[in-house]
């Protein structure tokens, strides 16, 4: 095995130079989302000859005039037949500065479910606006979801600028309208605006020759340089236990490692810790990996924590620090997005998965729903079905140890599972 420890970036030169940005794309049907992704991949030379040949052949047989870059992202048979994207697809590309993971989310069928899914792991969201249509209901919806899922960085890409004669006036009007609307969203802090044409490549990778009035960066430059250093919580120490490693071998006779991935904060040998739910206190003896012991562990590192004292710890428990403990309780308020085909039942029981723990939960109340196109609260409607978002009060069968989603995306999120069908029916963000 390598002697390189997966700890801080200074220790292993070359690999650390490249970091990772996960972003999601949102737009309504025909906003040119697939074309934009195709353009990013194509102009940054991340498309292979055999892929290009395959889409050239498909474009011809479909009767498309130009090579249809959108075909690069539509993978399933039904998607190609219908010319639409059905499910979230993940794409990968790299430049010398960064590696990128794109969650490409469809514009219509199951739009909310898919966008919420793609947004849950993203650092950045690109919201596409058709320059001819301006800020429409879907734009509001996409921005609301980015805000709800607390995506740190948002790029509003005003696309199809070629169809409005690259007009600065049209662009500025859309920017002003978006700013006016988004002032109602609390968490959208870093919003950037870009005028582009995905079809012709203006301001995607290459600077546009048609918009002298725009002096900002291209989309790719922005993606390469946006600061993402503060995207994990490095203050409140949280370590959900996944698995207990006990080798029972002669060499590691007394070894008892609590394996997991750090969900927040920094852990060091010697740190005083507390284990939930038992409340027992101990100290960290060492932090183990197959490459050797770590001097510190932080999110999102996988490691095993060994404690000074022998206490009973199993999967679903959480190791925390006593000076900064998580919230605990059985009454949970959360913003919930419903994914199930069957409506949520108030009074109904579901399995709830939170970090590595599973409990049962009863839906006590639907406090209100949100009209995600207007952001208005709806308080008198108790029907809660597919793609709806609302505020829900839950009672769990055992205490959860959690943080507010705004403080920690990992310890502040959960899913609900229908115990009859085993389907994931909802995503929840704890208030």
């Amino acid at each position: 095995m390598s002697d390189n420890q997966p700890s801080t970036q200074t220790e292993n030169g070359e690999l650390s130079a490249v970091d990772l940005l996960r972003f999601t794309t949102a737009g309504s049907v025909d906003d040119g989302k697939s074309t934009l992704i195709g353009r990013l991949l194509y102009d940054s030379k991340n498309i292979f000859e055999d892929q290009l040949e395959a889409i050239e052949t498909s474009s011809r047989s479909r009767g498309d005039e130009n090579v249809n870059l959108a075909l690069l992202t539509d993978g399933l048979k039904a998607e190609r037949e219908q010319g639409i994207t059905i499910d979230v697809a993940y794409r990968y590309f790299a430049t010398p500065k960064r590696k990128f993971i794109i969650a490409d989310t469809p514009g219509h069928i199951q739009y909310t479910r898919n966008m919420v899914t793609g947004a849950s792991t993203a650092n950045l969201a690109i919201i596409l606006v058709d320059a001819r249509k301006g800020v429409i209901e879907q734009t509001c919806r996409h921005s609301f979801i980015a805000d709800l899922l607390r995506i740190q960085h948002v790029v509003v890409a005003v696309n199809k600028m070629d169809l409005v004669d690259y007009s600065e006036e049209v662009y500025e009007g859309i920017v002003a309208r978006f700013k006016e609307f988004s002032s109602r969203l609390n968490n959208l802090v870093d919003v950037s605006f870009l005028p582009i044409s995905a079809l012709h490549g203006d301001n995607v990778v290459e600077k546009s020759a048609n918009m002298d009035w725009y002096s900002g960066p291209t989309l790719l430059y922005h993606l390469e340089s946006v600061y993402i250093g503060a995207d994990h919580n490095h203050v409140q120490a949280r370590f959900p236990v996944q698995w207990v490693i006990r080798p029972h071998s002669d060499e590691y006779h007394d070894f008892r490692g609590y394996a997991g991935r750090v969900a927040g904060g920094v852990f060091k040998p010697g740190d005083e810790v507390q284990v939930q739910p038992s409340g027992f206190a101990s100290r960290i003896k060492s932090i183990h990996t197959a490459d050797g012991e770590l001097s510190e562990a932080f999110a999102p590192q996988s490691c095993s924590i060994l404690l000074e004292d022998e206490i009973d710890i199993s999967r679903g428990d959480m190791i925390v620090k006593p000076n900064n403990p998580p919230e605990q309780g059985q009454d949970i308020g959360a913003m919930v997005c419903w994914f199930g085909d069957r409506q949520m039942r108030v009074g109904g029981k579901y399995a709830l998965r939170h970090t590595t723990k599973e409990v049962k939960a009863i839906v006590r109340e639907l406090s209100y729903k949100i009209n995600i196109n207007t952001l208005h609260k709806i308080e008198d409607d108790q029907e809660f079905g597919l793609n709806e978002i609302g505020c829900v009060q839950l009672r769990t069968s055992a205490p959860l140890y959690y943080d507010s989603y705004k403080d920690n995306r990992i310890t502040g999120s959960f899913v609900l599972i229908d115990e009859q069908t085993n389907e994931t029916v909802a995503a929840g963000m704890i208030i």
């Binding site: 292979f48 990968y92 792991t121 698995w243 070894f255 994931t424």
Partner: protein
């Protein structure tokens, strides 16, 4: 100020280890599908790291078409011993002998599609409820739609239009009796990431991945190795070339590329400059535009 950042390779490693541990914790009887190719080698290496210093809490399963390059089998046995894993082998030949499948006929005959039956039979016979695979989303367009935890019905089939949403790092591995999951810890890795990781970790690979001299024939744009398992046609010319393999699968459908890359640094430079995807050498993917999707729905890897 101290910067708490992981490089992208460290993030991918941490994510894969998390998924491997979730698999061990959520399923009663997982198994790791091991072909002797680089992706399954990296996955087994990650599993070794995830549970260190204890042994792997699941065995490795090799679905053996019988059409192997001999180097693959030698490597497999050495590797399994080194990481202290248990190995099980399911033979496609057994499925043929007991009449579960019929061998394809003709010059393009391959046992690639037959593997699915052998795999599903092996999973069912031993009650495996999760099969870890080395599939990556960047490999192929249908794979781009895969989840980390991918549900399979009682017939082993994948329903790409109705997959469970997968949010944050919460994985739902619940299932009915008789159903199983495919789990893909390397979902977010690219071919380049796999090679960089192999170099970073100093992982030993089968010699097939490095440039060597070999007799090949050119067929449908790929260079196929001349072995006992393929029949050379009259119009084909056997040539000796310096080649290496970008993927290793069944010897009848895995093409080689001409290359002088004899070590990892040169391979990485070659991958960086490559203008063809690695599955561009796989005849099994070229049977139709949706060859992979069709096979995956049936229960392929």
């Amino acid at each position: 100020m101290h910067s708490y950042r992981l490089s992208h390779i460290q993030q991918l490693e941490s994510e894969a280890i998390f998924v491997l541990r979730e698999t061990a914790a959520q399923f009663e009887k997982p198994v790791l599908l091991f072909s002797g190719g680089k992706d399954s080698i990296v996955m087994a290496h990650l599993a070794f790291k995830a549970f260190h210093p204890s042994r792997l809490p699941f065995p490795l399963l090799h679905v053996d078409t019988g059409h192997n390059f001999p180097e693959t089998i030698e490597y497999r046995d050495r590797f399994v011993e080194k990481i202290g894993a248990r190995l099980e082998v399911a033979l496609v030949q057994d499925s043929i002998d007991n009449g579960r499948v019929t061998e394809e006929k003709g010059a393009d005959a391959s046992r690639n599609a037959l593997q699915t039956v052998t795999l599903l039979d092996a999973l069912e016979a031993a009650n495996y409820d999760a099969a870890l695979g080395g599939g990556r989303r960047d490999e192929e367009k249908a794979r781009a739609k895969e989840r980390f935890f991918s549900h399979r019905d009682a017939f082993g089939q994948w329903n790409p239009k109705n997959q469970r949403p997968e949010l944050w790092n919460v994985f739902n591995g619940r299932k009915q009796h008789g159903e199983h999951f495919r789990v893909f810890p390397l979902s977010n890795w690219t071919e380049m990431d796999v090679w960089e990781y192999i170099r970073h970790e100093g992982i030993d690979l089968p010699g097939l991945y490095f440039a060597h001299e070999r007799e090949v024939v050119e067929r449908a744009g790929s260079l196929l190795a001349v072995t006992d398992f393929i029949s050379v046609r009259d119009n084909e010319k056997v040539e000796k070339k310096q080649v290496r393999f970008r993927t290793i699968g069944d010897a009848t459908c895995t093409g080689a590329v001409e290359s002088a890359a004899a070590d990892l640094d040169h391979i990485i430079a070659e991958v960086a400059a490559a203008r063809q995807t690695e599955r561009g050498t796989r005849a099994d993917d070229k049977r139709s535009e949706t060859a992979m999707e069709d096979r995956k729905k049936e229960g392929y890897f």
